[in-house]
Amino acid sequence: MIADGVEDEEKWLAAGIAGLQQNAFYMHRALDSNNLRDALKYSAQMLSELRTSRLSPHKYYELYMRAFDELRKLEMFFKEETRRGCSIIDLYELVQHAGNILPRLYLLCTVGCVYIKTKEAPAKDVLKDLVEMCRGIQHPVRGLFLRSYLAQVSRDKLPDIGSEYEGDADSVVDAVEFVLQNFTEMNKLCYTACQSFILLADPELRLAVGLSGLQGPAREKEKREKERSELRDLVGKNLHVLGQIEGVDLDMYKDTVLPRVLEQVVNCKDELAQYYLMDCIIQVFPDEYHLQTLDVLLGAFPQLQPTVDIKTVLSRLMERLSNYAASSADVLPEFLQVEAFSKLNNAIGKVIEAQPDMPTLGVITLYSSLLTFTLHVHPERLDYADQVLGACVKKLSGKGKLQDNKATKQIVALLSAPLEKYNDIVTALKLSNYPRMMEYLDSETNKVMATVIIQSIMKNKTRISTADRVEALFELIKGLIKDLDGSPDDEVDEDDFKEEQNSVARLIQMLYNDDPEEMFKIICTVRKHILAGGPKRLPFTVPPLVYSSLKLVRQLQSQEENPFGEEESTTPKKIFQLLNQTVETLSNVPAPELALQLYLQCAEAANDCDLEPVAYEFFTQAYILYEEEISDSRAQVTAIHLIIGTLQRMHVFGVENRDTLTHKATGYSAKLLKKPDQCRAVYACSHLFWVDDQDNIKDGERVLLCLKRALRIANAAQQMSNAARGSTGSVTLFVEILNKYLYFYEKGNPQINVAAIQSLIELITTEMQSETSTPDPAADAFFASTLRYIEFQKQKGGAVGEKYEPIKV
C-alpha cells in the first residue's frame, strides 16, 4: 500500500512535469512571437500544475523548481515588454485576470519584480501589495512555496540601505516589514502544514501497522519528519534574508525584528519548528546583536514548547558567543557590560526549571556550554566556572550515579573544558565543585576523567607544588587511586589497569617542591592516598613514592652541608621512618621482591646519609623478607644478587654489623637450590670481603675461601650432572671462577697466587677435553677470550704485564 503510494506519487509528478513542459513549450512559442496574451494564457496553464495536492513537499519541490526556471524566462519577457512600451501597470493588472489564484499570484510576483525594477512605483508599495495578496493561498505546501518564491525573487529588490530601490528615510523599515510579514505568514502556514502532517500521518500509520508490521510507521514517520524539516527550511530562508538586510541596525533589530520574530516562534507551537527557527535566529544574526539582546532572546526560551530541544539551541548560542569572545579581546568589555554570564546562567536555570523532564544529558550539555562560554569570556573569573559546576552538581544531586552513556561523556567534556582552557590543573583544583561533579560519574568514567587529568598534567608538565593541591588532585583522581565503593574489580582489563596505574605512578613523579618541608608534606599526602589503594595498586604506586622520598633525602643530604639545615624539622631520619612504614605495606600485597628492592634502595640511601642503624634496619627487613617470603628459587637468586650488590657498596656499617650481614648473605648463597646458582652466589659473595676503595674491607683470605668454596660447588655440580645425565656439564662455572681469580689477582689480593690460577686453567682445559663433557661453544669462547685477556695483559708490559707474566697458558 505504501509502496503503491510512492509509485503513484512518482506518476503524478511525472504527469505534472509533462503538463508543465507542454505548456512551457507553448509559452516559449508565444514569447518568441511576442504574443503577450498567449504567453499569459500558457504560463497560467503551466502554473496550474502547481495546484496539485497529490505530491509530498519533496516532490512538489521538484515541480516548483521547474516552474521557477520557466518563470525566469517569463520575467525576461515582461522586462522586454515594458521596454517595448507596454505599460507595467497594465501588465500588473493583466496578470490578475487569471481565474485561478495560484497561477495568478505566481504571475503577480513575477510581474511585481519587473514593476519594482522599472521604479514606476516605490518598491515598498509593490512588495506590500504582493505580500498581502499572497494571503489568498492558505494551503500550507502551496502557500509556503509561493511565499518562498516571493522571498526569493524579491530578495535583491528590497529597499535596503545602499540598494537602488532605497526609497525615503524609512525604507529599511519597509524592507524589514515586508520580510517579517512574509515570514509570519509562512510560519503560520508551516504550522498548519506540520499539523496536517500529523493528521495525515495518522490513518496511514494505522494502515501501515496492519500491512507491514511495525517497520512501516517508523519509516513513515521519519519521512514525515523529513518533509516537515524541508518545509521549515523554506520558512528559515526569510530569516536569512532578514539577516542579509544591511540596514537592520542594532536598534531596529532590538525594537522590531527580534520581538516580532520571537513572537512568531513562540506562537508557532511546533516543537521542531521552534527549534529550527531559534537556531536560525542564532545563526543568522550577528553575534553583537545577540549579545545586546540577550535578555529578549533568552526570555523567549521558557515560552517555547516543553519538548523543544532547547539545550542544543542554547548551546549553539553560547558557542557562538564564546567564539565571538575568542575572536577579539576588544569585545570582552561588551560581555561584561551586558552581564552576559549571569543572564545566561539565569536563563539556563529557568529553562531547566521549566522543563523538568529534560534528560540529565540535556542539563549537562547546557552547563557544559555555559562553562565553555565563561572560560572564553571570563577566563579570570574562576568563581563563575565554579558557580556553573556548582549549579550542575545541584541539578545532579539526588540522581545518583549516571547510567546514561552520553551524559557521562558530556560530563567528561564538561570537566575537561577547564583543563584545556587553563592548561593547568592547578586552576581547576581551585574549583571546589570540581570533585563533587566527578562523584556523579560511574567508576569507569571516573577513571577516564582521572586519566584525562593526569594526561593534562603530563602534557603541560604542570608542577603541583603544594600539599593542599596534591590533596585536591588526589581527591579528583581517586577513581584511579582506590577502589570506589561497589565497583567490580574483576571486570577490569589487566592491561588497562596497568596503564592506569602507570600513569598514576608517573603523576607521583611530577609532584615536586624545592622546599623540603612542603615536599615532605606532599609525600605524606600522597602516601595517605595511595595506601588506601589496596593490594592491587600498591606495587605500582609505592615505588614512585619511595623514589620520590629518596630524592628528597638526597636533596636534604646535599643541603646539610649548609648551616641553615639545623632548624629543619624534616630530617632524613623522619623520612626513613616513613619509608619503612610505606614499604612495609607491600608485605600485605604481597610483593616481597619489590619490597626487598625498595628496602635495599632505602638502605643505600641511609648509607649515604651515614645512618647506620637505619641502614641496618632496612637490611634486616630485606633479610626477613628473603627468609620468610621469597621462596621461589629464581626470585631468590635475583634477590641474593641484589643483596650482595647493595651490601658491597655499604660503607656505613661497623665491623660487627657488616660481619653479621655478610655472613648471612654468604649463608643464603650457599643454600640456594641449584648448584650453579649456589656457585655464582658464592663467588659473588667474595666481593663482600674486598671493596676496592675501602682499605678496611680487604680480607683476602675470606675472598679466597669464597672462591674455593665456589670451586667446590662447581665441581660438585659437574659430578652431579655426570651422575644424573652421564655427561659433565659445561665449564662455564669454572671459567667464571677463573675470571674472579684473575680479578682479585689483578687487584692485588695476596691470597690469590699464580699457582691457583694456573691449576684452574689446567683444570678447565682437562675438563674440556674429557670425553664426557658436553661441547658448549659459548663456554669455549668465554674461556678463549679469558685466555686472550691474560695474553693481552702480559703484552701490556709494566706492572700489570709483570704480574701476569708468570701465568702460563
Binding site: 481565474g99 495560484l102 498581502e132 494571503r135 489568498g136 492558505q138 502551496r142 498548519t192
Partner: protein, 300 residues
C-alpha cells in the same frame, strides 16, 4: 439561368449610411446566426442621421407605394419568437409613391432620439435598435432593409455608493465577515474587498468569488429566470485559520458584463450578483449572494 436568378433577386440594392459613419465608434454585435459584425454606437438623445440610397439593378425599375425609414426599439423574447415588441417606433416618409429607375439617395434624420434602454443580447431576451427601410409595393412583397445599431447609455458615478459589509455564518461551524468596497461598480471597475474568518470549524478547500447574471423575462406566471455565471474567480486556496483575512481584488474588465437593467419596459430585468462560495473538503458549497449594481461610466 441568369434570367431566373434575376427574377428572385431583390430588385434593388438599399444601403444605409450614417452621416458620421466614418468617425462614429463601431462596436461588435453578435447576430442571430452567431456572426459578429461591427455596428455603430449611439446613445440616447443623439441625432441619428444619414443617407439611404436605393439603387435598382440594371434595367429594372421599381414601382412603389412609398419609401419610409423607421427607427425601431424592439424587445424580442426568445420563447415568444417572432413577436417583437416595439417600445420605440419613429417613422420618416422618404418618398411618395412612384417609380425609381436609377440610384436615388434620401437623407434622413431622427433628432434627439429618446433611447432609454441599452441594447442587450441575453439568453432569453434581446433588446435591439434597428433602422428599417421599407419600399412598399403594390404587388409582391415590400422590399425591406435593416441596419442595426447599438445604444449604450452612460451614467455618472453614483453619489451614494456604500460598501457591502456582512457577517454570515453557520452556527458553531463557520463565521465569516466579508466586505466589498462598493455596491455599485462600473464595467471596468475593480472589486476590492476582504474576507475575515471569524470562526472556522470546517475544512475549507477553496473559496471563489462568482459574478452571476440573473436575467428574468416576462411577468407574473410567465416569468423566466436565467442565471449565468460569468466569472469564477478563485480567491483562496486551502484552509484558512481563524483570524485570517483574505484579500479580494477582482478586475471586471475581462468579463462581458452589461449594466444592470431593472424592469425594462416591464419585459425583463438583468441583475448582477457577487456570489461568495466556500467549498469544503467534501465538496459541500457554502455561499452568500449579494446584488451589485453595474453601470456604464462615461469613458474619458
Amino acid at each position: 439561368m441568369n434570367f431566373l436568378i434575376g427574377a428572385f433577386k431583390p430588385a434593388c440594392n438599399i444601403s444605409i449610411t450614417f452621416s458620421d459613419g466614418k468617425t462614429r465608434k463601431q462596436v461588435p454585435m453578435k447576430k442571430e446566426n452567431g456572426q459578429t459584425v461591427m455596428v455603430p454606437l449611439f446613445q440616447s438623445q443623439e441625432n441619428i442621421a444619414g443617407k439611404i440610397s436605393i439603387e435598382p439593378f440594371q434595367g429594372k425599375k421599381i414601382e412603389h407605394n412609398g419609401v419610409k425609414v423607421e427607427l425601431l426599439g424592439q424587445i424580442e423574447m426568445f420563447f415568444d419568437r417572432g413577436n417583437f415588441y416595439d417600445f420605440t417606433s419613429l417613422v420618416r416618409e422618404l418618398d411618395v409613391p412612384g417609380e425609381i429607375y436609377e440610384r436615388k439617395t434620401y437623407p434622413f434624420e431622427f433628432s434627439t432620439v429618446e433611447m432609454p434602454y441599452e441594447s442587450y443580447n441575453g439568453v432569453n431576451v434581446r433588446l435591439r435598435y434597428v433602422l428599417k427601410v421599407t419600399i412598399s409595393r403594390n404587388y409582391g412583397a415590400s422590399i425591406m432593409e435593416y441596419q442595426d445599431f447599438v445604444v449604450r447609455n452612460y451614467s455618472p458615478p453614483p453619489s451614494i455608493n456604500n460598501s457591502i459589509k456582512m457577517e454570515v455564518g453557520i452556527e458553531d461551524c463557520l463565521h465569516i465577515e466579508f466586505e466589498y468596497n462598493k455596491s455599485k461598480y462600473h464595467l471596468k471597475d475593480v472589486i476590492i474587498g476582504k474576507i475575515y474568518f471569524l470562526l472556522v470549524r470546517i475544512k475549507i478547500k477553496n473559496m471563489d468569488l462568482e459574478i452571476r447574471r440573473r436575467e428574468s423575462t416576462g411577468s407574473g406566471a410567465n416569468t423566466h429566470v436565467e442565471t449565468e455565471t460569468l466569472a469564477k474567480f478563485e480567491l483562496m486556496d486551502g484552509a484558512p485559520v481563524r483570524g485570517e483575512s483574505i484579500p479580494i481584488r477582482l478586475f471586471l474588465s475581462p468579463y462581458e458584463l452589461t449594466p444592470t437593467h431593472r424592469n425594462i419596459n416591464n419585459k425583463f430585468s438583468v441583475k448582477y450578483y457577487l456570489n461568495l462560495v466556500l467549498v469544503d473538503e467534501e465538496d459541500r458549497r457554502y455561499f452568500k449572494q449579494q446584488e451589485i449594481t453595474i453601470y456604464r461610466l462615461q469613458e474619458s
